[in-house]
Symmetry: C2
Subunit: 312 residues, 2 copies
């Protein structure tokens, strides 16, 4: 069994981040000695994935001088608006007497949650199944084995999963760059497709289930995740396939009654435009979408598999 | 009114092709002096779009020596398997006493058909509508104004269309590169999105209809088009939006009873892998999918708008 890649490490009084923008081409550790460095790393996606940015941000609070922690907390929370783990982990570190010890606790707890998610979710994967996934939700995106991809890796190790089918996940290609890299590193058979090919594979019977992560889950179960997830949920329903969401309980936002209360981050249009469009072209670049609860077969959290929305 | 960009011209005994692989960065004309040059241009997508590759291939037959025309016809037909216009236009040129004159006739007729399609289809576009489209189906892809994009350009000129929303259309980005280029050149407001964002825009009410082209239409109405089209049809149905197919009658294949009889071209996985995946990764790269007739609101051909499958 290959070792899980880890996105973060604490070294000599600084947080070091495995720069996910450089993967799979290079493994470069980015040293963050201040909370501003951490906020910039979160904003620019050097670290990404809802659990991982929460953990990183908790360490960010620990890097701030005591008198500066409130400012740091606000700055870290503002780095990305959609994932609720970010605010949750920052608030935990801010309220603690020792933010560094609290950040370590957040990291350890998220890792344990992801282990529990993997164990609970793997039992849902039928023998010989091919699972479609989107974005990257593995070890790099979390503490421990990850969320949706952690489930699939576990199901493969248990001898049931036949293949991961990875949507490349435009515009930032987390599926192509990170899911493929992590699957290859862990010895999990994986096949890449463009996002537009998911429907054809479902129709051909080459996909048995969809497993997605989450950036924020509303109280009614509406789930925000990477742009393109909602389309997969509609397509899964159309083809009679189960659509699962795997995420730690920290992803549930008790302040969001439904998906309408979840802010969707609009990122720089240049992320879409830069690989082909003519100069001066216009683009929209929503980074997330919200899948209504009624399209979700079940949620997988560290507390198990639930067919009604998970509690905060 | 800006001039429509043309994909092909006959100069000094050779077919010149505006190399669509180089757009929008550069406007380079590729000179094809032999049928093999034309077949290579079709195979490598220097010229693409179902009507345009048919016209190009008819000229390809005209470039062959009389004793070589059968071989040329077979080679040209094999260049791409999915679009039926290719075989149809090649057979016309092959059967003609003067293949060059026949190629000119095919070009003129396809242009006239596209004009008729544009006129018929534009009437379907409500005032103020925002239309989602995929791949590139404009003048560059056809004779005349194009098919689906030709309809939308015409609807804009008639004052009804508010905006084209263009799916970038991975892996080859025909939406980003060609639809955006042609819309900007013709003064049609256009906005680019990643393919995975179509569902969110539908849910937000930012799309009023989907207008797609076709590479082959079976007798029962099942329609092959660029990979990702089938997903848009499922999503349109889910959101209660009309889904239209615009294509000349030459796209209907009387030999294909239904979509199961349409070959789907599987292209080089490197087209998917080359912008991000790790070395050695596996990919599938189906270039087309088939949308079942029951998801299509209407077909628009040169004979008008029909709600039952168009006749060959």
């Amino acid at each position: 069994v290959s070792e899980l890649p880890a996105p973060l490490r604490w070294r000599d009084g600084a947080l070091e981040i495995l720069d996910q923008r450089r993967l799979p081409g290079a493994e470069v550790w980015l040293r963050c000695a201040t909370w501003r460095d951490v906020a910039e790393a979160v904003r620019t996606l050097a670290v990404r994935g809802a659990p991982a940015i929460g953990i990183a941000a908790a360490y960010g609070v620990a890097l701030a001088a005591p008198g500066e922690r409130s400012v740091a907390a606000a700055g870290l929370k503002a780095a990305r608006p959609t994932a609720v783990n970010l605010a949750w982990a920052v608030d935990r570190a801010l309220a603690a007497a020792d933010p560094l010890r609290e950040a370590e606790a957040v990291a350890a707890e998220e890792a344990a949650r992801c282990e529990a998610i993997a164990a609970a979710g793997a039992a849902l994967v039928p023998a010989g199944a091919r699972a479609l996934t989107i974005c990257h939700t593995g070890a790099l995106a979390a503490g421990g084995p990850g969320t949706a991809l952690g489930v699939l890796v576990r199901a493969h190790r248990e001898g049931r999963l036949r293949e991961v089918v990875a949507c490349e996940t435009r515009p930032l290609l987390q599926g192509a760059r990170l899911t493929m890299w992590e699957c290859m590193r862990l010895g999990v058979p994986a096949r890449l497709i463009v996002d537009g090919a998911a429907a054809l594979l479902m129709r051909r019977g080459e996909v048995d289930l969809v497993m997605a992560g989450a950036d924020r889950i509303a109280v009614n179960g509406d789930t925000a995740n990477k742009i393109g997830t909602y389309a997969l949920a509609v397509l899964a329903r159309h083809h009679g396939l189960p659509f699962y969401v795997a995420a730690p309980g920290s992803t549930v936002d008790p302040a969001a009654a439904d998906g309408g209360a979840i802010p969707v981050e609009e990122r720089d249009p240049d992320e879409v435009l830069r690989i082909g469009a003519p100069a001066g072209a216009r683009a929209s670049n929503p980074a997330f979408d919200v899948t209504p609860a009624e399209l979700i077969t079940a949620w997988i959290t560290e507390r198990g598999v639930v067919r009604t929305p998970p509690l905060p």
